[in-house]
């Protein structure tokens, strides 16, 4: 079907993929270490946190909302879950269960306020970011949790194998959660009627209301899902860091938002795909990784990431303007 192919080559994802491929080829040629199993695994592991959050945020953006508070939700969720896990033998399941319940509750709180007060979600979630985070710091006084249960410290380590240099590899906890998060989001958005309702509300909320969509229910689901993903991401991060620090996650909001927008999600709602978000996350991760491998001073890191985002977003905006001109 040439029409399908044409649609695909005109899509945002196609161009993003091309950029990712070109950048990867460049880094492979320019450095010895980019295309090594070890580097790729490290990349996957260190992207896990931002990637899982991106999956959650994508759903919110498609719905036509925005959430800034997810790093605070993640901080609260991991602190609550691991404080309990430190004293009670709740096991893996318990850790996830407590974290996810906490995250979902925070998300529902966001949804309820946005819906009842009918103010923009940016304002609400900037406020709740400060509320959640402020409460956390007040109650914990900023204390770390370091003595984590042993099952948690070990994580999982499946399908272990060793490369020719004797380094061990495996499907680790972070990679697994990342893949599961994107897969779940893909199923939700593309394979369920609820996902399609989320797109519809993002495209035209008034029309959805007129058709009798349960917009409040959807809003709860979307922000609850964001809270859920924040909880999953926070567990992934705590396992990697082997400790919980209430302050480390705050400040990563914009990086995640940038990755999702780079992936083609629009801030006005209705647009965005899981594949695009994956590519957005990949592009930023590879770029940051490449800058380190190339030995560029880490001070330049943010500068380059900012430039790439600006370029990508401008290119999309310009090409769309041309299309509608």
């Amino acid at each position: 079907m040439p029409k399908t192919i044409q649609r695909w080559t005109r899509s945002h994802e196609f161009w993003l993929l091309a950029v990712v491929v070109v950048l990867s080829m460049f880094l492979t040629a320019a450095t010895d270490s980019f295309l090594t199993l070890q580097n790729l695994f490290d990349l996957l592991t260190s992207t896990s946190f931002a990637g899982i959050l991106a999956a959650g945020l994508l759903v919110v953006l498609v719905f036509g909302g925005i959430d800034i508070s997810f790093t605070a939700i993640a901080s609260v969720a991991q602190y609550v879950a691991l404080t309990i896990a430190k004293t009670y033998p709740i096991g893996w399941f318990g850790v996830f269960f407590v974290a996810c319940c906490t995250g979902i509750l925070c998300g529902l709180f966001n949804a309820a306020i946005i819906h009842k007060v009918r103010i923009s979600s940016v304002i609400v979630t900037i406020s709740t970011l400060n509320i959640f985070f402020g409460l956390l710091i007040y109650i914990t006084r900023g204390d770390y949790i370091t003595s984590l249960p042993s099952y948690f410290r070990e994580g999982i380590w499946w399908f272990e194998f060793t490369d020719s240099n004797g380094f061990p590899y495996a499907i680790n906890f972070q990679a697994l959660l990342l893949v599961v998060a994107f897969f779940m989001t893909w199923v939700l958005l593309n394979k369920t009627n609820i996902g399609r309702q989320i797109y519809a509300v993002g495209g035209n909320e008034i029309a959805a209301e007129r058709l009798g969509f349960h917009v409040f229910g959807l809003r709860c689901l979307v922000y609850g899902y964001m809270g859920f993903m924040a909880a999953i991401a926070s567990i992934s991060q705590a396992q990697l860091a082997q400790s919980v620090t209430p302050t480390t996650l705050i400040g990563k909001e914009l990086e995640v938002l940038a990755a999702v927008v780079l992936g083609g999600a629009s801030l006005t709602g209705g647009n965005g795909s899981v594949f695009g978000a994956v590519l957005g996350v990949m592009l930023i991760a590879i770029l940051q990784n490449g800058l380190i491998l190339l030995g560029v001073s880490s001070y330049w890191n943010q500068f380059f990431v900012g430039c790439v985002i600006l370029l990508a977003v401008s290119a999309t905006a310009l090409s769309q303007r041309r299309r509608y001109a």
Binding site: N190, G203, G212, F213
Partner: protein, 494 residues
């Protein structure tokens, strides 16, 4: 016969605004019921109450298939077979044609999306009204007319007993309107009730069995179509009579301001010759695709002809660009006033003066703000436009007044020839009348006007003679004074 839906004592306030007052309405299975009224008379509000999107003020009664309700909700009204095609279409621009049409199958409890079912429903709905759109195209990529078709298909896809169309023809061409009217007839034959809201009274008279007239939120009455005329309807809608006499013919001896000879552009139009005299209003009509707009654009320098000549007041016009055309005294007001004619976010004054900024510029090429305001104000008065502040964005004006601003913008160039492309599309009767008045006044001031329109009635009643195009050729010239509207219709649709 019992009514499918009966409304009694329906009122609706929005804050202090009274949109409806004590309205009764009864709809029967299989009838075609037209709802007419000027802009703001409450038609859309009444429809939203039937759809359950808005609740009426307490005290009203709604009887739906024999059951009484104090208000409806969207789920209940959809389940009972009420389908609404809203004025704004209420489509999802980010979803495909198929998903928009079959959006109903996404409703309800969580479950897997069934894409095959969706394509199936959409294809069937399109087949029912005989349209053919690509199922995978995003609705944002469709023209307005095609979006309208998608909205109609969506109503067809549901098992409707009552289909309500809120001004479905506002942006359709005559040809598309005809297919829509066929759809309505098809619905009728299947015992489905249609409520048709329109400004175009000729359409209403063509299909209506009963007509309900609203004025200022109140119901004037419901009439059998057989006992009423479109002239009478107009009076009922507005509360006063309009003068529809054809305008006085222009002087036969007047100077020729536009002479077109053997103008040809293959594929667009062929061998077109005609004159327009000073003070004359010439209508140009024909079916969609007959080449009217292409011809007009050529005269305005935006669609170069390959053969033939154009003369403005005896001087040859080599219309290579619209700047040249404007300089030699040709003005053009485009069909889609919103998209092409105005910068909606810019102040009214800036819009009016956009075409004459050069002539206002002072010694250093700068424009004196006071002079700018005076010049713009002058036009506002001449065009009889209601404007609270010249510096408000044009987007804040009503449709009819926006149209007048466009006219003002072009009149400021002091044209000899003014081309108006479908100037009254989507405008209500009162505003239409204002536009005709402007056109007549401009003609009286000596401008030669070429009025392009889809509506036979419009050109028949408001021009001195009518040129009819078909497939790129001028096929006929009709003189309203010595002919009838029906005759003109026959020439157009022959």
């Amino acid at each position: 016969m019992t009514a499918f839906l009966e409304l009694a004592h329906i009122s609706k306030h929005f804050g202090g605004v009274r949109a409806l007052r004590d309205v009764d309405l009864s709809l029967e299975a299989g009838e075609v019921h037209c709802l007419v009224g000027e802009n703001g008379s409450g038609k859309s509000t009444l429809i939203k109450i039937i759809a359950g999107v808005q609740a009426p003020d307490p005290g009203g009664r709604i009887v739906l298939e024999g059951r009484e309700h104090s208000r409806l909700d969207p789920i209940l009204s959809t389940k009972s077979g009420i389908q609404v095609i809203y004025q704004d279409l209420s489509l999802f621009p980010n979803l495909s044609v198929a998903e928009n049409i079959a959006i109903g199958s996404h409703m309800g409890l969580p479950r897997p999306a069934n894409w095959n079912r969706i394509s199936d429903i959409a294809a069937k709905a399109m087949a029912r009204i005989n349209v053919n759109l690509d199922l995978e195209t995003m609705v944002s990529d469709l023209s307005i007319a095609n979006r309208q078709l998608v909205a109609i298909c969506r109503a067809m896809a549901a098992d409707a007993k009552l289909v309500i169309m809120d001004e479905p023809t506002a942006s359709l061409t005559r040809h598309e309107v005809d297919s829509l009217l066929r759809v309505v007839n098809d619905l009728k034959s299947r015992d489905i009730c249609t409520v048709f809201v329109s400004h175009r009274l000729d359409e209403v008279m063509e299909i209506a069995e009963r007509v309900t007239v609203l004025r200022d939120g109140g119901k004037v009455g419901t009439f059998d179509a057989s006992e009423i005329t479109s002239r009478r309807l107009e009076t009922l809608m507005t509360g006063h009579e309009f003068d529809y006499a054809p305008p006085r013919p222009g002087g036969e001896a007047a100077e020729v301001v536009l002479a077109v000879r053997n103008l040809t552009r293959p594929g667009h139009y062929e061998d077109i010759s005609f004159d327009i005299r000073k003070g004359e209003i010439v209508g140009l009509t024909g079916l969609l695709g007959s080449g009217r707009t292409e011809l007009a654009l050529s005269i305005f320098g935006m669609n170069p002809p390959s053969r033939g000549t154009i003369e403005v007041s005896g001087k040859p016009l080599i219309a290579s660009s619209n700047r040249v055309a404007i300089a030699s005294g040709v003005a053009y007001v485009p069909e889609d006033r919103l998209m092409l004619g105005l910068a909606l976010g810019q102040p009214i004054s800036a819009n009016i003066l956009a075409t004459v900024l050069d002539s206002l510029a002072g010694k250093f090429g700068l424009i004196d703000p006071a002079e700018r305001v005076a010049a713009a104000g002058d036009w506002i008065v001449r065009l009889n436009t209601k404007v609270s502040d010249l510096e408000n964005p044009v987007g804040t004006l009503s449709g009819g007044n926006q149209q007048r601003v466009v006219l003002g913008k072009w009149m400021a160039t002091k044209p000899r020839v003014l081309i108006l492309d479908s100037p009254t599309v989507g405008v209500d009767i009162k505003a239409k009348d204002g536009i005709y008045e402007i056109v007549h006044r401009l003609a009286a001031e000596g401008v030669g006007v070429l009025l392009i329109s889809d509506e036979a009635q419009e050109v028949f009643y408001h021009t001195h003679r009518v040129l009819v195009m078909r497939q790129g050729k001028l096929v006929s010239e009709v003189h309203p004074l010595s002919s009838t509207e029906r005759n003109l219709q026959e020439v157009i649709y022959a």
